[in-house]
């Protein structure tokens, strides 16, 4: 019976369209509500991709400024969060490019060790410091060992629960690449879990 599925997907697309209208008009009340609604998810995503809490805070603010400025580019055809994460991701990549112009390739080449640069693995990373309050030290250590480019797809798929098609929009890469990164990410996670905490 397609009833509930159809109902929820219509509801979601109606919501996305109303968000699109609001952000296009730069409705400040809507933006306030959106900031509150997506604050944890966006911040968590930024912590994972930057590996740095302070940096994540900066990017958090800058992402919402971009949402305000580029609101007219959101058409409401996809989930708002997918567009939001795409903006955040582009900001991080732009910053990394301006910081390290000689390593452009590392941003797009998944075979490079740290395409989205994180703190030195030998040091206790800021990500570790943030997450260390949690009980699952083993899982946490395993996640930290995964190259950022694979961790990012795992985060988007299994933490933010985005569909693979939505991830294509966020990451700006072909569907087949998203899938292969997911497979490699899961493989890396499995390998890290097998090896256990260092």
């Amino acid at each position: 019976m397609p009833g509930p599925t159809l109902f929820f997907s219509t509801l979601m697309s109606d919501e996305a369209r109303s968000i699109a209208r609001g952000v296009e008009k730069r409705d400040p009340d809507l933006l306030d509500r959106l900031i509150e609604r997506y604050q944890y998810r966006l911040f968590r995503y930024l912590v994972y991709v930057t590996g740095n809490k302070d940096r994540a805070e900066d990017f958090f603010q800058e992402t919402w400024i971009r949402v305000l400025e580029r609101g007219h580019q959101y058409d409401g055809k996809s989930k708002f969060e997918a567009w939001l994460f795409a903006i955040a991701r582009h900001l991080v990549i732009d910053w990394q490019r301006s910081k390290k112009p000689q390593s452009l390739d590392t941003l797009t080449d998944p075979h490079q060790e740290h395409p989205l640069q994180l703190a030195n693995e030998n040091d206790p990373s800021p990500l570790h410091q943030i997450l260390s309050q949690e009980q699952e030290e083993n899982v946490q250590a395993s996640l930290e060992k995964i190259p950022a480019i694979y961790r990012e797809v795992l985060v988007l798929r299994f933490q933010e629960e985005l569909q693979i098609e939505e991830m294509v929009g966020v990451l700006g890469i072909p569907l087949s690449t998203v899938k292969s990164r997911l497979y490699r990410g899961l493989e890396a996670l499995r390998g890290a879990l097998q090896r256990g905490p260092a």
Partner: protein
């Protein structure tokens, strides 16, 4: 048990999470998991790790949301204030263009008269006429460049401290 079977089990485990697997594959995987503790353990650990990712709470910095809301409102106000100026700029460009087209024959005559009087080669006063036409466009481009460089300076806070 051969290594191929474990590899297939691992592949199916990953495939199930990414694209889904067929009923027959699920049955085979279930049967393998019952026999192989190693694969079952690994699948359970992976499940646990992915579940942990979903449920983990990263402490959200206090005041970040309200600081962001404040900045966004401030920027929105700035953009609203800038909008009429931008509209006025385009309007002025449009009007000057229309005026330029309407007055082109007269301006041409003026340039011709001045060129002949000053004894300039035809190419020079024709070039002068062409440049006269580009002045509004240059003016608009200069204003837009100034605006974007100011915006660039404002965004510099991100690269600072890196």
């Amino acid at each position: 048990m051969s290594a191929d079977l474990h590899t297939r089990a691992n592949q199916l485990n990953a495939q199930e999470r990414v694209e889904g697997i067929s009923e027959a594959e699920r049955e085979w995987l279930g049967a393998h998991m019952q026999e192989c503790m190693l694969c079952a353990d690994l699948a359970r650990q992976t499940d646990q790790a992915l579940r942990w990712m979903r449920t983990t709470a990263i402490p959200f910095p206090s005041g970040l949301a309200s600081r962001t809301q404040f900045r966004v409102r401030l920027r929105a106000q700035e953009l609203r204030e800038r909008e009429p100026k931008r509209r006025a700029l385009w309007l002025a460009c449009g009007v000057s263009w229309i005026f330029g087209v309407a007055s082109a024959p007269y301006v041409w005559n003026v340039f011709q008269w001045f060129g002949q009087r000053a004894g300039l080669p035809k190419l020079v006063w024709e070039l002068g006429f062409g440049l006269w036409w580009t002045i509004p466009a240059f003016f608009a481009a200069a204003v837009l460049l100034m605006e974007s460089s100011r915006k660039g300076e404002q965004a510099d806070w991100i690269s600072q401290g890196s």
